[in-house]
């Protein structure tokens, strides 16, 4: 076990833990945002640079500060490390810069995008971004494309986090999409428009932090804040069948995996509850699901704006914390 201090909070974590995961063990506001890191996907992280933190002391043995800001998702903690995230002005400035770069080519078509309301880039821009844009050049544009018959790819919105590529690589036995070209021309694509037909490929929608990969069966149907997320499960031979169904009245409009506070699919029964395509795209009938009850949504989320009532407000840690 090694001792590490993050924003003045001391915590003991196992050796080999990254700074980001140590911060997540503390929880709350001090957790650096992460656009590309996904704890359930091996090898993810280190690409978006939003999780930069300042290391004020490297370790107990060598307490010199690290000269540059470190990527918290792939830097391992050392005994006696002192990390500054919210308390560092350098980090805030760098994060604002990173946000500006991520938004440089982002089309800002949130009123059209189906991801609006649960988009990590929106949250990042809201918390760390600048009010105006300085980017005057033409943004790179791609036409929206169908990847398979159930997934829509809007390459304009992509921030090249590679999460979907890792998902396809690790969840399915045959990866048929990846990143083509380099630099500004890089794009997620299936080579020669090959359709994705794996039973678990729908999970690329859940891992996408922006609205680049969206569910075609839910395309333009509604906005997430008009829907009521409910925990539900069903017997499924291929996956665990543990999902969130997004209901409008008595109608299921879309099915997603259950995501935790960091937007990652939750672990159930010791396994990540990835959803199969049958559950996600073809099970839109209420009779197919056992609905457990409303999902607890952070009351600061726009999704809770839809007059969404908690079963017991005291169960929500956020509510109780803010009442104090």
């Amino acid at each position: 076990m090694v001792k590490v201090t993050i924003d003045g909070i001391e915590i003991e974590v196992e050796e080999g833990t990254t700074i980001l995961n140590a911060a997540r063990q503390v929880g709350g506001d001090i957790v650096p945002p992460a656009m590309c890191y996904y704890s359930k996907l091996e090898g993810s992280g280190g690409k978006c640079r939003t999780c930069l933190v300042e290391v004020a002391a490297g370790s107990e043995r060598d307490p010199r500060p690290m000269p540059k800001l470190m990527v918290s998702c792939s830097t391992q903690v050392q005994h006696g490390m002192v990390v500054k995230n919210l308390t560092s002005d350098r980090v805030k400035e760098a994060r604002a810069g990173v946000t500006e770069f991520l938004l440089a080519n982002h089309p800002l078509d949130c009123p059209v995008c189906d991801q609006a309301g649960e988009c990590h880039l929106q949250d990042l821009g809201f918390e760390n971004g600048k009010e105006g844009t300085r980017f005057e050049e033409d943004k790179r544009t791609f036409a929206p494309r169908d990847i398979g018959d159930k997934i829509k790819l809007h390459m304009n919105r992509c921030i090249l986090c590679y999460r979907c590529v890792y998902t396809a690589n690790q969840l399915t036995n045959k990866r048929v999409h990846g990143v083509l070209n380099r630099g500004d021309h890089a794009e997620i694509s299936t080579y020669i428009e090959k359709a994705l037909d794996n039973e678990f490929i729908g999970n690329v929608i859940d891992v996408c932090p922006v609205g680049a990969l969206t569910d075609k069966t839910f395309r333009f149907k509604s906005r997430v804040w008009f829907l009521k997320p409910m925990n539900a499960h069903r017997d499924c031979p291929t996956c665990q069948g543990i999902a969130t169904v997004w209901m409008f009245g008595n109608e299921i409009q879309r099915v997603t995996g259950r995501k935790d506070a960091y937007g990652e699919i939750e672990t159930h029964n010791g396994k990540t509850a990835w959803l199969c395509n049958t559950c996600r795209f073809e099970s839109k009938d209420v009779a197919q699901w056992t609905i457990e009850g409303p999902r607890v949504i952070n009351r600061h989320s726009v999704i809770s704006q839809g007059h969404y009532v908690l079963k017991n407000p005291l169960e929500d840690k956020n509510t109780v914390k803010n009442l104090k």
Binding site: D109, V112, F220, S222, Q305
Partner: protein
């Protein structure tokens, strides 16, 4: 106890004099006041033949704007509906088909857009929430009706006609955001 406002009048019931008890001076002073008002300018106007001047920020009937090329601005993003405290706005989005580019500005548009004018409290929050400069309140008055159903205004009544544009240049929320 002494009155705090100092406006208290003590009612006296002193005996009236003979002239006072005739009530005639009081009647004539009152009648003369009423008579004078016959020559004053009336406070009302003869609506609808005559209309008052409206403040440029008057919040009346909504309009769904089109852009310079006549395409609808609204993308059915739902921000007006979520901002609406009276839950008066409902909408349904649809995807623009190829060949409809001259009708709708973006790839998504409002297939139906309804404002229930009986629910609406004309607070103007929808106008404030709109990121596309699509919905505006205007200085037009919602006409009366005997039924309830006609007060649910659909796109036929809300979207401005291409040849009869609604002037919103004096509105507060015009041109303040980037119009992408």
């Amino acid at each position: 106890m002494e009155s705090l406002s100092n406006r208290k009048k003590v009612v006296s019931d002193k005996k009236m004099t003979f002239v006072e008890s005739l009530y005639l001076p009081a009647i004539f002073s009152g009648m003369s006041k009423s008579f004078k008002h016959m020559f004053n300018k009336p406070a009302t106007v003869r609506y609808p033949e005559q209309e008052r001047e409206f403040a440029p920020v008057y919040r009346g009937m909504h309009v769904l704007k089109r852009d310079e090329q006549g395409r609808e601005n609204c993308t059915a993003c739902g921000l007006c509906a979520v901002a609406c405290p009276a839950e008066a706005i409902t909408m349904k989005a649809a995807e623009r088909e190829p060949g409809e580019e001259h009708l709708y500005r973006e790839e998504k548009y409002a297939e139906t857009y309804e404002i229930n004018m009986l629910r609406c409290i004309f607070c103007g929050l929808c106008e404030e929430a709109c990121p596309k400069e699509a919905v505006f309140l205007t200085d037009r008055i919602v006409p009366t009706n005997f039924e309830r159903q006609p007060f649910v205004y659909g796109k036929d009544k809300l979207v401005e006609p291409v040849d009869k544009r609604v002037d919103i240049t004096n509105r507060q929320h015009t041109g303040k955001r980037g119009n992408k």
